[in-house]
Subunit: 252 residues, 2 copies
DNA sequence: CGAATCGTTGATTCAACTCAACGCGAGTGG
DNA sequence: CCACTCGCGTTGAGTTGAATCAACGATTCG
């Protein structure tokens, strides 16, 4: 039961392998990273702003998000993380967290010692490249989010976030972009979008009334992808998926 | 005239040294990176979205900025770069640029071969750490910008950008945070802030009328730092300057 | 069943946008 | 040397997209 394909870090390994090809030996070394699995209930804080972080975590199951608070009590979510994402790789080289990380759903993390990750990154350049590349892609997504909240109106902005989540889930091999679970309240979506929950509601309703999406409970189906992505002004370039062509290929 | 302290990459070397201490030998290796100096007139494009980039550049003089365009013709500036900043380190590991980089003032860049940078990063782990750390700090700044455009009103948002620029210039050893040059038009500032130029004008004027800042031409003096930073909801944590204590220390 | 949380809708307000005009300084050319 | 232009900054008046305030449904859960 302890073969490589059942290792808890298989997801991370595959993710890194797609970022930069790893030899079987390198893959073994990633999977051999010492880690502890920890589970968080929805809403639980994984890291708080200002805290010292001593570990780096991969999402195994569930969703987590990062956010910052502003003076007037407002909150802005700055990223959403799904399985195989590294939620606090930055703590490998930055001592104090500049933001909060919180569980969106019940989430399971494999928490790895930051020194071990850092050592491996520089002992095995392919692994280092893969990790670094991941942080660069994350920065690219952050740039797109700035554009999204800075220069798109509520309709386009909301559509854009739906497109991104759909494509990222698909790229990770979790089904198709046409249907996905979005286990966020409209208030949380508002904190992603820089909008009030009331306006999120109206915007989603308007997209639904126009036949672009359908919602039931917390699941979204995209009725007309072309329409949605054109409303969203969405293209996949910033996700840098192009060199990650086989989302579900085996790699052992 | 070719001693280490007159090398064009001295600025970069010092910057990396402050990010992660480098031995004199390591510093020599950074300065020995092959590079060509290129100068760009204000408004000239350094990289365009979708382009393949084959080099990584350090700013030697002047200012550059990164931006993306949206469907309706709008533009969002996602970062501003000053001397010693790496403007396209991402191209070391990502093939296609996901954004544009443009000269704000006349700017001089030292353009280094991306393979040489990558090799050095993994041959000398201290240099690799310093570079990687830089990309992580950049990501932290991007997160703060998302918060800024997403959840702060025009007054606070504008004040925040002024604070950031003031502190970054000071941290790089270019004078004090109380007075600095801001060679941007109000239209460009609007593209940083996600506001129209007209509203930028009114917002700056209101800060000036309240005695918080003074402007003349393109230079800004901060009359009341405490007031400005409190309006801005600004703290320096996200810049991760704490481990960069001596902005002008010698390091050769 | 009651309580709590989340989603929905309407009425009103307000921050920022749009449209439009004018001022001002720097450069240019007759 | 002045007149003209051009880009940028400034200001006013009116509009609008999103926020606010408030109420009411729907769903889940103990």
């Amino acid at each position: 039961m302890a073969g490589p394909l059942t290792n808890l870090l298989t997801g991370l390994t595959g993710r890194l392998h797609r970022a930069h090809p790893l030899s079987p030996e390198e893959q073994e070394k990633v999977m051999a990273l010492p880690h502890v699995v920890h589970s968080f209930e929805p809403g639980a804080y994984i890291i708080r702003e200002g805290e010292r972080a001593r570990s780096s975590s991969v999402v195994l199951k569930g969703l987590a998000y990062r956010h910052k608070l502003v003076a007037d009590g407002g909150r802005q979510i700055v990223s959403i993380h799904m399985a195989t994402d590294l939620v606090d790789l930055q703590s490998v080289l930055l001592d104090y967290s500049d933001h909060n990380v919180q569980a969106l759903t019940r989430v399971e993390l494999a928490m790895m010692d930051r020194e071990a990750v850092l050592d491996l990154a520089f002992r095995e350049p392919s692994i280092g490249r893969a990790l670094w590349r991941g942080t660069l892609i994350e920065a690219s997504i952050l740039r797109e989010w700035i554009v999204n909240v800075g220069r798109r109106d509520a309709r386009s902005r909301t559509a854009h976030v739906l497109c991104e989540i759909a494509v990222r889930q698909e790229a990770l091999g979790f089904g198709s972009r046409d249907k996905f679970e979005l286990p966020m309240t409209q208030e949380q979506l508002g904190d992603v979008l820089g909008l009030t929950p009331v306006h999120v509601n109206r915007t989603l309703k308007s997209l639904q009334d126009d036949g672009v999406i359908n919602r039931s409970k917390r699941s979204v189906t995209i009725a007309d992808w072309n329409h949605l992505s054109s409303v969203a002004d969405f293209t996949t370039g910033y996700l840098h998926l192009d060199e990650m062509p086989n989302p579900v290929e085996s790699f052992g």
